[in-house]
Symmetry: C2
Subunit: 348 residues, 2 copies
DNA sequence: TGCAAAAATAATAGCGCTACGATTGAGAAT
DNA sequence: ATTCTCAATCGTAGCGCTATTATTTTTGCA
């Protein structure tokens, strides 16, 4: 019987919500424990009781308080996802797919953008841990020492996505960017191209793009003893940059005949610039992209590109997280190679 | 003195974290209240005490528990953002900008995707409220009755973004899509175009695209008595769809000379398809897009388009939310028109 | 019908933190 | 010296919920 909890001391305290589980319990003539149990495991409560509770919830318009629930349960139903930027279509796709799956389990997505900075990522991880999330999802496998340390200190499950082959923290879902680069090189070399270049943006920050570039160069060398040039630019990847980089490529490798791009936006820029300069694609230069973005199948010429399974990475990440939340630890320290696919079109 | 809280009853209870504020307080020889105060308002604590606390925090590796904090404070430092899809570059930009600003204030972004469904949005709003967020951000102004009801029942601040002119729930930041459509019509008519069409995707679900289309049609009629055709498709907006829609437009309006698109992807598809069919742009057909996406300045011809200020919407939304969190209610029920800008390029 | 086993429900004791009022101590004003 | 003021710090009592144990009710079966 605490009609007025602070009656004795005269203190005021701001309440969070008007309708609490207590109120639902009273309305349904059961104890709060039963309401809580019903909400978490309906099958553990008798059908009639369940109906009474559902009725009370509807009548009162009860909204459960997940903050209180998270505190009591020592783990919140939040999943923290940290990506370089959701402006990047790759990560947007993964985040959207993951949210769709996690949402079904009433897991809330918390989003952070590292902007390709390890320092920023560390700061985001620190904040994320403050929420006692069910899992933390990080992009890639290169993290600051501090990030690794604070993650090792806790026991929050960690899923690293979009990269493979490095040192895993816990669970890993992605593909080999080295192989992507090698696949592009192999394809171009196989098509008889000999003067190769890799065009990329933000190669300092974007380790994965860098890995693709290295794989490309090494495979060109290994397969045919060719020297492939890497032409980078610190600017953000974009169509305009692609046009610019083509210009640089033509200067550095005058008789260039094969180009791989760190992403499709750059490849599209290359296609446009080739058209402007009257360079035939793939006649004079073959172009391979990365991403298989929206326009790849419609541009002129259509773009041969490597398709990373952004949505699959998202759904798989969601799957292992959901399993973990349910208590199934069998995915612990798993490494899932989602692979990728070369999509042959006209440009190469 | 409660070294072992459950000693008497012998109950086990899982603890959330090893280092609590209590531990920090003991280490720094102050009370927990002071640590809490220091963390929330450092200026209210003496410098020497602050240093002692900072030292203790570092030594112990203390991570504050925002879940507990949120419960005690009756409001969590979370902001729930619900957009149709983060795959859409418009919303990705806004979400990224908003997260950047909110992150500075240690406000956590919680993300949900409605996939253009009012029902789904309602479900997401319900879940969002369970987190007692500092604010809820919704896209657009058309919501289900249920959504409006549950939002009205609480007192969580609501920010509606990307649309203006409808019935506001609370704060509104966006621009008029009707004006966007009218601007496109005015521009094309002003350039002497007479056979007009508006090409759009998902016109049923995407009310804003629909509003732009209606504005376009009405302005064409008002200015020059012209009948503009609306050519829609339930598929997702994309470059490929643009090509398809151009074909339909040519059938429906054989001597078409002016096209407005519901977004730049569709416009790009139109450009590509025109190139394939040997139709000159803007010679034969003028094309106006919407979005000013990455490629708009680089494609052939460069795309005349209407630029919605996605990042500005995000930063403004963050600003009013931060003000509200700080206790400044002056933005309550504000309506901020961010406007938009027609970017003239070659295609029209 | 009686009794053990199982099912359903209830009572208890916090989770870690913050808001509020209370208290302390140092300097200013009298 | 005494009172007053203000800044700095502390003690208390929950926020709303869940995990655990305890109790009650129902069921199965002889």
């Amino acid at each position: 019987m605490n009609e007025s909890p602070d009656r004795r001391t005269g203190r005021k305290r701001r309440r969070m919500q008007r309708v609490t589980m207590q109120a639902v319990a009273e309305r349904a003539n059961v104890s709060p424990s039963t309401v809580s149990l019903y909400l978490r495991r309906p099958e553990a409560v008798a059908a009639a009781t369940g109906q009474a509770i559902t009725g009370a919830i509807d009548e009162l318009g009860y909204v459960p308080n997940l903050v209180a629930g998270g505190l009591a349960a020592a783990a919140s139903r939040a999943v923290s996802i940290i990506v370089p930027s959701v402006r990047n279509a790759f990560f947007a796709e993964t985040v959207a797919a993951m949210q769709a799956e996690l949402g079904k389990e009433r897991l809330q997505v918390m989003l952070g953008h590292s902007e390709y900075s390890d320092r920023e990522e560390e700061s985001l991880v620190r904040t994320a841990l403050s929420w006692a999330p069910s899992a933390i999802v990080l992009t890639g496998q290169s993290h600051s020492a501090g990030t690794r340390k604070i993650l090792a200190a806790g026991n929050t499950p960690v899923v690293e996505i979009w990269e493979l082959g490095g040192q895993s923290i816990d669970m890993t879902i992605g593909f080999s960017h080295d192989k992507v680069g090698r696949t592009a090189a192999e394809y171009l070399v196989g098509r008889g191209r000999r003067q190769l270049a890799f065009l990329g943006a933000r190669m300092q920050e974007d380790r994965r793009a860098n890995t693709r570039a290295q794989g490309f160069v090494q495979e060109a060398l290994r397969l045919a003893g060719l020297h492939a040039e890497i032409i980078g630019n610190p600017a953000r990847a974009g169509v305009e940059l692609g046009a610019l980089l083509l210009g640089q490529a033509l200067e550095r490798v005058p008789d260039i005949d094969g180009i791989a791009c760190s992403n499709d936006h750059i490849a599209l820029g290359v296609l446009f610039e080739c058209q402007r300069r009257g360079i035939s694609v793939p006649g004079d230069i073959a172009v391979v992209g990365f991403g298989d973005l929206d326009f790849a199948g419609s541009c002129i010429p259509t773009l041969t590109t490597i398709r990373p399974p952004g949505d699959l990475i998202g759904t798989e990440a969601a799957r292992v997280i959901i399993n973990h939340v349910r208590g199934d630890r069998s995915d612990s320290h798993c490494v899932i190679d989602t692979g990728f696919r070369l999509v042959e079109r006209q440009s190469a």
